[in-house]
């Protein structure tokens, strides 16, 4: 190859309609070689349809898909060098592990010696060198997962698609597989496209994440960027936890100002996503629990930050380092805030507290319903 295209996968204005339903609307993105890219969205947002179009099981209604710089429109799925790990893995139950992995090589017409060498090689890379002779039903969930990936990787795909493959695993195994998938991706150095509705999977593993909603990409960026600098109200609400208010802007210089919430709380805010928000606009305000400071009412004078709110501790949600406190404000809303519980002199339900947070962390977006 004389020149390597910068992107393994490029999509230009991809859309797909089923009858009058538009499942995917004009989506464009490029995925650089060797990166771990996730598409994160709620169920029914069109992410699976998008993936099926990349794999070739659905023909897009419009737009172009390029793999390694070459358009694959009209190329049947078995001629595309895009492999897919299915949601339920779709390992062939009538073949053993060896035959499952060898299937793709046999379809290519590889010689028996080559098949043997490459299957053994890929089994070693996924650290399961001795399972070749086993039947699929004899494998554990995590092993099946790795075999499904090996079955694709043995074919050296340009892009590997993963359709929520961790969904069927129990929590503990899922946590372990997240790290393992990331390691496997590094090891094979292939572009992974990972589809999920589970944000922690997407945030932990990915180099880049695209947030998909209702057939559109809301935002593409690094996990940090999505979390700290969301561009839209949907992203702010979907990625991570947030306390959410709706309100009306009472004063603004465009990038920040004052807002009054529907419950009557006055708050300093910053406009999110580089938007300009003018006076009188209906907005939604998001404040993440970790940016809310909780102090006892007695120490209220010491509370830092631009915004304050008084309330009573409703309950403590103990979860080790991720413990939270639920505070009921004077107007009756429940606010979540992260707290450090040391087991000594902690807050208790019923105590009066003061919450505070800075204007910088009160992200504000125009109300999507009115847009």
């Amino acid at each position: 190859m004389t020149e390597t295209p910068a992107y393994d996968l490029e999509c230009h204005g991809i859309s797909k309609s089923f009858g009058s339903v538009r499942a995917v609307k004009d989506v464009s993105f490029n995925i650089p070689s060797g990166s771990f890219f996730s598409i994160l969205g709620p169920s029914g947002c069109g992410k699976t349809t998008l993936m099926r179009m990349i794999a070739g099981f659905e023909e897009p209604s419009g737009g172009d898909i390029r793999i390694k710089g070459k358009s694959v429109l009209g190329t049947p799925p078995n001629r595309r060098n895009v492999k897919m790990v299915f949601q339920h893995l779709a390992l062939f139950p009538m073949m053993n592990v060896y035959e499952n992995i060898a299937y793709g090589l046999r379809c290519r017409g590889a010689s028996n010696d080559e098949i043997k060498r490459r299957v053994q090689d890929v089994l070693e890379r996924i650290a399961l060198p001795d399972v070749g002779g086993r039947e699929i039903h004899q494998l554990s969930g995590g092993q099946k997962q790795r075999i499904a990936i090996a079955r694709c990787m043995v074919l050296d795909p340009d892009v590997l698609l993963l359709d929520e493959p961790l969904g069927a695993l129990d929590l503990k195994l899922r946590e372990a597989m997240k790290i393992e998938l990331k390691l496997l991706q590094h090891q094979f150095n292939t572009t992974f496209i990972y589809i999920t509705h589970d944000q922690s999977e997407a945030l932990v593993m990915s180099d880049h994440v695209a947030i998909m909603n209702d057939g559109n990409f809301e935002q593409i960026g690094t996990p940090q960027a999505l979390y700290h600098r969301p561009n839209t109200a949907f992203v702010a609400g979907f990625v991570g936890d947030s306390n959410r208010w709706s309100g009306k802007v009472t004063a603004s210089d465009g990038t920040g100002g004052t807002v009054e919430t529907a419950q009557g709380l006055t708050m300093q805010f910053t406009a999110g996503g580089g938007l300009r928000i003018g006076k009188g606009e209906a907005v939604e305000i998001f404040v993440r629990p970790e940016f809310i400071n909780t102090v006892r009412a007695a120490d209220a004078a010491a509370a830092p930050g631009d915004n304050h709110m008084d309330g009573v501790v409703d309950s403590l949600l103990f979860n080790g380092a991720n413990s939270r406190v639920l505070v009921r404000s004077q107007t009756g809303e429940l606010i979540e805030a992260d707290v450090t519980l040391t087991g000594d002199g902690d807050l208790a339900p019923g105590e009066a507290v003061r919450l505070s947070w800075s204007a910088q962390h009160a992200m504000c977006f125009p109300r999507s319903g009115d847009a």
Binding site: G56, M84, M94, M95, C152
Partner: protein, 289 residues
């Protein structure tokens, strides 16, 4: 204690009809048949024990030729039923939508509401010299004289395939129904052509259904009487016809019993061979569907 007795009584009562059915209608008659087939007639009303009836069968080529002919034609019918039934079953199970599926399945079942006899007469009505097809061909000017479509092997085979194909479709639909679509998609995704996917994924997956359909169809065909006789006439030379002749026409029950047993042994052997060759067992095929 009483509770236990009641439970045991319930079990016995529930099991009794089935046990009686098996014992009185299957086991006892078959033992009787075996005993009957091992009697040789030496003089009027004088019998002695011996294998004479079986030896007669071997010495008379027309008998075992008929049996082989019945067997090979039944195999052909089974193969045709599979070839025609598989795409239909695949369409019903995998391609048709939910509502179409029910309707198609019903359409397959409706012919069962009509008796075998009536359906065979239906074919006769179509195929005889003065029948619908012959008349139509003459009317359209394609042929000059009437044509007799009945009483040949092709007609017998068509009629038999038509009668038994349902028993092929039903187990196939139920096996294919259980197949996850993503298996087929994975087959394509990993580079398989349509033929490879069929050969390496769909057919192996459907194997239990295929084998159980084939067993049922082969048994029904080899043991069928009405269709070969009505559509094939005297030319059909079906083995069941031989058995009927021995019992009814020649009143030679001993020989008829031997023939009946030979047919059972023959079909069982063929099925055993088929199971061995396809690597399946009765437990994971017929017992499952």
């Amino acid at each position: 204690m009483v509770q236990k007795d009641v439970r045991r009584l319930t079990l016995i009562l529930l099991f009794a009809p089935f046990a009686m059915w098996i014992a009185l209608l299957i086991i006892v008659p078959h033992i009787g048949m075996v005993a009957l087939s091992l009697r040789e007639k030496v003089a009027p009303r004088v019998y002695e024990f011996g294998l004479g009836n079986y030896i007669d069968f071997i010495n008379e080529p027309i008998y075992w030729n008929t049996l082989l002919r019945t067997g090979s034609m039944s195999l052909l019918v089974t193969a045709l039923a599979l070839l025609i039934g598989f795409p239909i079953a695949y369409y019903i199970a995998k391609i048709a939508g939910n509502r179409t599926r029910g309707a198609l399945f019903l359409l397959c079942l409706i012919p069962l509401w009509v008796s075998d006899l009536i359906r065979a007469f239906g074919w006769i009505l179509l195929l005889r010299e003065t029948g619908v097809i012959s008349t139509f061909l003459q009317w359209s000017g394609l042929v000059s004289g009437p044509i007799e479509f009945l009483y040949n092997d092709v007609t017998v085979i068509i009629g038999l395939v038509y009668t038994v194909i349902l028993f092929m479709i039903v187990p196939l639909v139920s096996t294919l129904d259980g197949m996850d679509d993503s298996l087929v998609e994975a087959g394509y995704n990993l580079g398989g052509s349509g033929f490879t996917v069929l050969r390496r994924i769909i057919v192996p997956y459907a194997m239990p259904g295929i084998v159980s359909g084939c067993i049922v169809v082969f048994m029904l065909t080899a043991g069928s009487y009405l269709t070969p006789i009505l559509l094939g006439g005297k030319n059909s030379s079906w083995f069941t016809e031989q058995i009927y002749d021995q019992f009814i026409t020649r009143f030679n029950w001993e020989s008829g019993a031997a023939f009946g047993f030979l047919l059972l042994a023959f079909t069982s052997t063929v099925i055993w061979l088929g199971l061995k060759l396809s690597g399946q067992t009765l437990a994971n095929t017929v017992a499952k569907s």
